[in-house]
């Protein structure tokens, strides 16, 4: 078996909250608290969860945009989380990013041509001026930007077109992996469909791996091969797409799926409405992080933190109900119609 393209092992990122006169650390935000997964070549793994679950922090940590608190990020067998900026820079080419906000992700004072040229120049991918121009045009065509787009400023484009520019910039580096951080969330329905289709085509055409970070479960289902569901800085369930959407095993996943409004008025679905709000990542609940909102929580959940375990082929769940011997109960309690 070959190595996966990207491995993340027990990743932790705590943000200190400074306070007081001396700027001492008062508390810590446990943004990401022990997350492990891998992404294979040409595969899409989606990180889903609600705001504050740490999914975007995972993406930014992989990109090396800040130092991580603990854990490992391994790219193609090589640990990259401890490298100096100088050693990391050439490796950055292999992992690119597309951000959510198509307005803040493009420098307003650079023309589209210069935006796309930046990674090509930085990584020395073009042999000559003509080659650079050729590469820029090829990438622009790949994302179906109009011919005259290159000489224009970002603010002249609509949100969807800007997102194409962002994707073009990522592709220009000729990466193996693109991290899409809510890349289609800010777009209108019809434009969203355009970008989703584009990303899927590009993946097939170029054999890209995608780490698709999103809260939109319907888009995720459409895009992904595997799904990791995050809650309060942890992965609570990770499985291939069909498994997650057909037979979720973690109560949070079930609730999340049943909460999504479906554009079919006739369907009368049984909905699990979770009570209360997500607890603060500063003062985490004891035991299982989900027990404060879980409809099936029992005594053990309040004291013992469940581990993410393999419960079936490729299906990982962090829930006490999924322990051997209790599986039957969970199947009844959590299963969806």
């Amino acid at each position: 078996m070959s190595r996966p393209l990207l491995e993340v092992n027990d990743l932790k990122k705590y943000f200190p909250i400074k306070g007081g006169l001396l700027g001492g650390i008062k508390a810590q935000v446990h943004a990401v608290d022990g997350v492990s997964f891998h992404v294979s070549r040409g595969e899409t793994l989606s990180l889903v969860g609600e705001s504050g679950c740490g999914k975007s922090t995972v993406g930014r940590a992989i990109l090396g945009l800040f130092d991580i608190t603990a854990g490992q990020v391994v790219l193609d067998g090589k640990r990259i989380d401890q490298l100096s900026a100088r050693v990391l820079r050439p490796l950055r080419r292999r992992m690119q990013v597309v951000f959510q906000d198509p307005f803040s992700s493009l420098n307003p004072r650079m023309k589209v041509r210069d935006i796309i040229a930046e990674p090509v120049r930085n990584f020395g991918l073009a042999t000559s001026k003509a080659d650079l121009e050729h590469k820029i045009r090829a990438v622009a065509e790949l994302v179906r930007l109009p011919q005259d787009a290159l000489g224009r400023w970002p603010h002249e484009f609509s949100g969807g077109q800007r997102q194409r520019i962002g994707i073009a910039r990522a592709l220009a580096a000729e990466p193996d992996l693109i991290i899409c951080d809510e890349a289609v969330s800010a777009l209108d329905v019809s434009v969203k469909a355009q970008i989703v289709n584009l990303l899927q085509e590009l993946q097939k055409q170029l054999g890209l791996a995608l780490l698709f970070i999103s809260h939109d479960l319907a888009v995720v289902e459409h895009m992904t091969h595997r799904v990791a569901v995050m809650y309060l800085g942890r992965i609570v369930e990770m499985a291939p797409k069909r498994e997650i959407f057909a037979a979720p095993r973690h109560p949070y996943t079930s609730a999340l799926l049943s909460a999504v409004p479906v554009p079919e008025p006739a369907t009368d679905r049984r909905r699990v409405v979770l009570k209360g709000d997500v607890p603060s990542p500063i003062n985490l609940p004891s035991g299982c992080r989900f027990h404060t909102r879980c409809p099936y929580a029992f005594d053990r959940c309040r004291v013992e933190d469940p581990e993410l375990r393999l419960s079936d082929k490729d299906h990982f769940v962090a829930c006490h109900l999924q322990q051997p011997g209790l599986a039957g109960v969970a199947g009844v309690a959590v299963g969806q119609d």
């Binding site: 019809s190 469909a193 479906v262």
Partner: protein, 333 residues
Amino acid sequence: MPDSLPLLEVVDLQTHFRTPDGINRAVDGVSFTVKAGETLAVVGESGCGKSVTAMSLLRLVPEPPGKIAGRILFQGRDLLALTEREMKAIRGKELSMIFQEPMTSLNPVLTIGFQLRETLRLHEKVDRRTAERRAIELLDLVGIPESRRRMSEYPHQLSGGMRQRVMIAIALACSPKLLIADEPTTALDVTIQAQILDLMTDLKRRIGAAIVLITHDLGVVAEVAERVMVMYAGRKVEEAPVADLFRAPKHPYTQGLLGAVPRLGASLLDAESKLLEIPGVVPSLKQRIVGCVFAGRCPHATDICREAMPALDVKAPNHIAACHHAATEPAAA
């Protein structure tokens, strides 16, 4: 439902904005009615004029640069003919509004309790004690735990979902006849959105207020609305009961919109499907559009679409759409 006078009747509403480079026809001749106790959803993508429509109903559009024309008959009275003073008395009492981002519509330096009591005392002339009691009842009604303690808290101490509940409580304070909700759940996470949608359906049953729900989320529409009006580029292009609209959309734009939304669970039925794309972008509202507003992006557009503006015709019982070709392709989708 008995055939009585509608609660709200909007006739040929036009809201235009003067801008340095021309007049922006944000809403361009939209008519609709809302019956008492009914939920009408107004759907469309950003820039289609749905939010401006909502603001116009409450006369919250800044004038100038904005200008509202047409008639807005609320319980038989034309809101556009009222003085600002008379409008203030109606706003928040018989006609109230919930916004997308509760943080900006709640005053950050006043407690929740104060803001609720003020609304009550402003419109209902009740004494302090009664206002206090009613405020706590309202917080209970919208499902805020420990309502008595919450009264003395400030908006920033509450989570997004709780703030939206407070907004709903304030909106319901004077038992309005009509509630206008502009993207009330868009800023919320799905599990919190589910809570708020449940609350709204539940409250509607109990209080009987009519709701005009402005949203871009077709899933939300399907869950709470009874009738749907689809807007595109400042015009109404289709209106139908919710089940009919989702089952057999008549207008190509509605069809495109429904096809562009990925369905949860769809992958379990068939392996690989592509989302339907609507090519191109929304036309600029600063130029007067001749013909059908959707002609530039429509797969079925012909010469007549580019020359003549289609009328809103009845295509099926209670189902109207503005399309030259909808009748010739009966329920194609």
